[in-house]
């Protein structure tokens, strides 16, 4: 009875205990009390750590800790998404610049044509019909390019749940790949800031090494990459610790 009360208290003081590193002791206590009714480690502490990073509007965010409204195919009933990562929106900057430049291309061409035509340098004429068709096709190409880039960005995500790490890759034109790995197989994570663009926008590349056949996950242009790497390793360490303790309980005489 006394032990049970102590576990109730543990829930009330969870953040405090977590900060004081007494959490593992209390979890062990709970295992002793409840034995086979062992529950997975709560992720409340992780949520608290990243509360300031949580985003209210999850619609088009590039980095979401513990998203509430996002689900994926074949998600298990008890499985909870802890992290969703997309590329930093700054990667659109180059496309936006090129598109802006592309908008003015027909005007420049028409002006150049008129200039040389009026001087009599051109030996041919282009009908208005062809100008209209060319301009329409050009703007259609620009629109397709923007839309294609947006779709690629929106659906090309990395997810981390309390069970696995997933890479949904829709970047190629006609195929998509879904790669996943148990988070128990994650060995280490590395984040790199390369180039002035990434330094400017506080984004980086994260490489997650695993013990699975497909040995690593590469997350490119991740916003706030050091925090994300830290989060990934925190979850992995907690999960490995929980798994170890569960095995100890199961194997106990």
């Amino acid at each position: 009875m006394l032990k049970r009360n102590s576990c109730v208290k543990r829930k009330n003081f969870y953040p405090l205990l977590n900060n004081l590193n007494i959490l593992s002791f209390c979890d062990t206590l709970q295992i002793v009390v409840e034995n086979k009714n062992y529950q997975p480690i709560s992720i409340n502490s992780l949520e608290n750590n990243f509360k300031d990073s949580q985003i209210e509007n999850e619609t088009l965010a590039a980095l979401i800790f513990t998203p509430k409204t996002i689900r994926f195919e074949n998600q298990n009933p008890d499985e909870k998404i802890l992290l969703l990562v997309r590329e930093h929106p700054a990667v659109f900057a180059w496309n936006a610049l090129m598109t802006l430049f592309g908008i003015f291309v027909p005007f420049v061409l028409i002006w150049t044509y008129n200039f040389f035509s009026s001087k009599g340098y051109l030996a041919f004429t282009i009908d208005t019909q062809w100008w209209v068709v060319g301009i329409m096709l050009w703007y259609l190409y620009l629109l397709s390019n923007i839309f294609r880039r947006f779709i690629s960005w929106f659906y090309n995500v990395n997810l981390m749940t309390n069970e696995r790490f997933l890479d949904l890759d829709f970047s190629s034109f006609t195929d998509y790949r879904v790669k996943e790995c148990s988070i128990l197989k994650i060995q280490d994570a590395k984040d790199m800031h390369t180039g002035p663009w990434q330094m400017l926008f506080d984004m980086g590349d994260i490489v997650v090494h695993t013990a699975s056949e497909d040995t690593r996950f590469e997350l490119e242009n991740v916003p706030n990459s050091s925090k994300v790497r830290d989060f990934i390793m925190d979850v992995v360490i907690k999960e490995i610790e929980r798994h170890r303790r569960t095995e100890e309980v199961v194997n106990a005489p």
């Binding site: 999850e58 409204t69 019909q129």
Partner: protein
């Protein structure tokens, strides 16, 4: 008797070839838009977010725009 080869005939053949090329381009654009739309439908089954429905609507609008613009281009070319 062989047909007479004149500059006007050569120009009209070139124009015809150009029209055929543009039509191929137009058909290619429609296929491209349909593939993107299909990919969006597939992707939205895998990842379900609040914005999924919005993106599907955007994809449908994109396909419609491509088809309408291509019909206009065809009308301009052939009529």
């Amino acid at each position: 008797m062989p047909p007479e080869i004149s500059l006007q005939n050569v120009m009209s053949v070139t124009e015809l070839l150009m029209k055929v090329l543009v039509m191929l381009l137009v058909i290619g654009f429609v296929i491209y838009a349909l593939i993107i739309w299909r990919q969006v439908i597939l992707a939205s089954k895998v990842l379900k977010t609040k914005a999924t429905q919005l993106v599907r609507v955007m994809a449908a609008i994109f396909v419609l725009v491509v088809i309408v613009v291509n019909i206009i281009i065809s009308i301009i070319l052939w009529i």
